[in-house]
Symmetry: C2
Subunit: 420 residues, 2 copies
Amino acid sequence: MTDTTSESANSRTTSRRSLLAMGGAGLVVGAAAAGGAVAVTRSGDEPQPVADTGGAVAFHGAHQAGIATGVQDRLHFAAFDVKTDDRDEFVQLLKDWTKAAARMTEGRVIGDGAYGGLPEAPPDDTGEALGLKPSRLTLTIGFGPSLFEKFGLADKRPEALVDLPKFPGDNLDKARSDGDLCIQACADDPQIAVHAIRNLARIGFGKVAVRWSQLGFGKTSSTTPDAQTPRNLFGFKDGTRNIAGTEREALDQHVWAGAGDGPAWMTGGSYLVARRIRMNIETWDRTSLSEQEDVFGRDKGEGAPVGKAKEHDAVFLKALKPTSHVRLAHPDSNGGIRILRRGYSFTDGTDGLGRLDAGLFFLAYQRDVRKGFIPLQRSLSRHDALNEYIQHVGSAVFAVPPGVRDSGDWWGRALFSKEA
Amino acid sequence: MTDTTSESANSRTTSRRSLLAMGGAGLVVGAAAAGGAVAVTRSGDEPQPVADTGGAVAFHGAHQAGIATGVQDRLHFAAFDVKTDDRDEFVQLLKDWTKAAARMTEGRVIGDGAYGGLPEAPPDDTGEALGLKPSRLTLTIGFGPSLFEKFGLADKRPEALVDLPKFPGDNLDKARSDGDLCIQACADDPQIAVHAIRNLARIGFGKVAVRWSQLGFGKTSSTTPDAQTPRNLFGFKDGTRNIAGTEREALDQHVWAGAGDGPAWMTGGSYLVARRIRMNIETWDRTSLSEQEDVFGRDKGEGAPVGKAKEHDAVFLKALKPTSHVRLAHPDSNGGIRILRRGYSFTDGTDGLGRLDAGLFFLAYQRDVRKGFIPLQRSLSRHDALNEYIQHVGSAVFAVPPGVRDSGDWWGRALFSKEA
């Protein structure tokens, strides 16, 4: 599960443009590089070095990329509803999507004929990523509870994929919640992430329809100096105790579904909780610094826990107010619960009252939602002082299957096989 | 007007964080750099070198930065309505904004005491940009027609600041149109642009309110190989004939308001037209490649005009269909009209029908709206084949005053002075 296969790829110097100039031939990635080479690592391993935004993240592997992968700068997340009741047609879509996703991840156009052999055909690829680098694009699929009511999948639904309970303070908008399936696109270039979702939606036309979508921006290694936790829109460092993609033991213990955890088709997969958390920016901004620091349990400048000097100093929980976010979210306050957070900030313009529609699009991966997000959020939703300034307005949960093993495999193959 | 004052600044190596560590002292930019130095150039001159996203763009100069400045990757644009009828209070806001804008542009926190001397005061700065680089932030203010109905400014309104006529096909949403004033924030890091608008809105609380706002992403030098025009969301290169920030004669002829053009307070300023152009992505994506290329009058892969080999080859207008976008928008079809376009792509999630709410947030600067956007759009709105796939859904126009000369000057000083 942790084999690393590095291969020389020409992703640094070969853009979609030059691939195109090669005549749209099928298998040019891996060809001799004209200049510097970038290692393509199998997904599920260490995060990629991120200084070179041209880098490609491998699509194939034991786990889907986009979970343990080092967080990219930008997100386009889409939830879809299935519109076909034809199982074969849906399976074909999953195969087509997988093929397109693999190509886009490598920085290639979709379809062998696009702009090459068949100029009169409707374009296989919408083209706005031509000339751009792979930008560490990852595409990660998940299956929502409602999918298992279709296609005779009812007995395949994992027990760990529970419907989330209603938490105190939830104010969920159905139009921004749920979905039969989801695709998370992450990349260092927003145009690459948007291009990927848009082309997958286009390929799915008539079979699936976008239910809701969310763009997000992060502040990761390309924008934040090394080893600093990015700041959220409240100006605080949050998520200092996140599981890193390099913590293999923690990943196996807290993130990846194990062989005995549930149905075999989910082994090596994970469970994703997505929550759109609106942050009441204007209210927060009129709160005093000391109140803000009490709410989080950290100082704002350095991010150190109360009574400590540095961000990564161990937290002395009893020094923090019982309602402080850091204390309530700490594993020691939650029987050791850890989740892998991969959230992004969002700013979606202005609401009808002239306030920023901004916040955190929270994405958390875990081995079992019942032992991860649910108990954590039960505690936070009841006690966290931060609740005065935030509101959960969207919610969804998905079973994220394991990785696509090779070019003959496809998203959801084990789920849709007769024997699994 | 074209003096260049380069000074050694430590923007590459000194982040907001280390400035903070210097104790929030007043004038640290320009201090000795610990490592490589980045030239800070007066605004209104050549675009900055853009490889280093840590670079700071000078705030002071003959023209406001953010017009001729090399286009940054990200946009946060906000239109505000004035809520106070107290002229002195509004003038004080403009002064406060100017001071904050200058500091943020340099990558510094707002307020000398923030996180430094006055920990119990409400934060002067919301803090989410702490530790981030200046990221070529520019902040550009504009005054809308409705502002001139307030504060006794009626006789100061420039004739060139006309209300835009209704064009064929316009489907304008009032909630995304107009505004007493606007601020355009551009930066290579979205968190920097969002932080700037949010803090200016915070400073303006009670005096102004955000009327509408728009986020955008571009594809500029950091994401697009040199000398290639970025692609729009239809996958085409558009804007090949744009005025570059280095074309001083063209800027003087087409962009900057001259001394005899109108009121003295606008000399060195410009006029901004902002249009939210929704692109019907799904319809476009089901159109054949040949139809798409006919609509634009370019080939999709290279971006060359019909009958030519390369993107920058001269257009032979008669080879293009009379309804093609390139032909209609070409200066030779419009009596030599040129505008400086600075638009950004946007994707604002999904509309109620599952379609991407995506398109182009068109921003164009010109010397006189009556001789720039209006005649151009009169022609395009009537004849452009592209109109089948796009719709203008938001619109605003602003007078953009000249640059802030020095630390004693402020946004709009000449407009609000008794003698101007």
